[in-house]
């Protein structure tokens, strides 16, 4: 009875989360939804006498894999959200048809099958003295070859990831001398002024004031400035607001210059 309740609750949760995963615009929400699904499944594993898998699910999936996803999301841009306009004609419609059809077919198949009562893995667990030893015995005896191959696969994957992520240096590493030269050529050899210096409120998004009381645009982090402009959190002081806007504009320009080669579609 307890299992039934757990199942139904988690089923509803996981299906809703899965739907959320598919339909939410922001990638971060998607990641969170996926986390929810995974956790629900972990519980369902536990319910089905697979405590080891439940733990692995939480540690590996929800812990490691999800973190990896989030890291990459950060790199690519956390806030970037998909446009919901479909570009391939008919893709969404046919995807729905195929998806629903497939689900119905599978469900029908499962429904038609005459399935008796589950045998339960308790017996199997007990023979080896618990779920983990039982699995271990299987892994290191019958499936030891697959296990070794899996380990090779993991190492290969790690190496592959490193190779892929590695950026080939196309020009010689700048020496200290080069760096110094570049600094002086840039016209502003000193360190950038920190934000909030002499400002009335000591916040990271407030531009610093120079000794003559004027506002230094250089002191504002451009990314933060853009967020401020986008979210409309500009300070009342027009001088400060102007400086933030300028920093934000520079950021836009910078982004555009990087994204320049990309075709606009």
């Amino acid at each position: 009875m307890g299992e039934t309740i757990t199942f139904w609750v988690l089923a509803v949760v996981s299906v809703s989360a899965a739907l959320g995963l598919v339909f939410s615009r922001k990638a971060v929400y998607c990641a969170l939804m996926l986390g929810v699904v995974m956790l629900s499944l972990a519980v369902l594993y536990a319910v089905q006498d697979a405590p080891f898998l439940a733990a692995v699910q939480i540690i590996v999936y929800t812990g490691a894999v999800m973190m990896l996803f989030l890291f990459v999301l950060m790199m690519v841009g956390v806030d970037s959200s998909d446009s919901l306009v479909e570009t391939i004609r008919g893709q969404r419609f046919w995807a729905m048809i195929a998806g629903i059809g497939f689900a119905v077919l599978l469900a029908l198949a499962v429904g038609q099958a005459a399935i008796g009562d589950p045998a339960g893995v308790t017996g199997a667990n007990q023979r080896a003295g618990g779920n983990v030893p039982a699995l271990a015995e299987l892994i290191f005896t019958r499936h030891v070859f697959a296990f070794e191959v899996a380990s090779a696969l993991l190492i290969t994957a790690a190496l592959g990831a490193m190779v892929l992520a590695h950026r080939e240096r196309t020009r010689p590493r700048p020496t200290q001398k080069d760096l110094a030269k570049a600094r002086f050529v840039s016209g502003y050899p000193g360190p950038l002024p920190g934000p909030g210096t002499y400002a009335r409120n000591n916040a990271i998004d407030m531009p610093a004031r120079l000794p003559d009381g004027s506002v230094s645009e250089l002191s504002v982090n451009r990314v933060i400035a853009r967020h401020d402009v986008e979210d409309g959190r500009l300070p009342d002081d027009p001088e400060l607001a102007e400086a933030i806007r300028q920093a934000a504009a520079e950021e836009e320009e910078h982004n555009a210059s990087i994204a320049g080669p990309k075709e606009d579609r």
Binding site: F7, S14, V15, A18, L19, L21, V22, A27, C30, L34, V37, L41, L44, Q48, D49, A50, L53, V56, V60, Y61, V65, L68, F69, V72, L73, M75, V76, S80, D82, T87, Q91, R92, A95, M96, A98, G99, F102, A103, L106, A107, V110, G111, A113, P118, A119, G120, V121, G123, A124, L135, L138, A150, L153, L154, A157, G160, A161, L164, A165, K262
Partner: protein, 98 residues
């Protein structure tokens, strides 16, 4: 009860598949793939219980291993593509065509 688990698994699988088809953000597509793998794992675990032996659980375990490897490589690819093309949309990587 097994039937329920299996139907749930099928549902999740189908939802994941639809996600793969309709989302364009490569990372989200990846997440949907993970969802499908998880759905499969659920089925495996269910079958393990149904048949009363641990092979199903073991396969699920292996699936997780492979999934981890896959995610690592896949995300590295996404990062590489993003670096050169400044986009994580799967539709932008469409050079391999007629």
């Amino acid at each position: 009860m097994t039937t329920h688990y299996l139907v749930l698994s099928a549902l999740l699988f189908a939802i994941g598949a639809v996600g793969v088809l309709v989302r364009r953000n490569a990372i989200v597509v990846f997440m949907c793939v993970e969802l499908m793998l998880n759905a499969c794992n659920l089925a495996f675990v269910t079958f393990a219980r149904q048949h009363g032996n641990l092979d199903g659980q073991l396969i699920a375990f292996f699936v997780m291993v492979v999934a981890a490897a896959e995610v690592v490589v896949g995300l590295a690819i996404i990062v590489t593509i993003f670096r050169t093309r400044r986009s994580a949309s799967v539709d932008d990587a469409n050079l391999l065509k007629y």
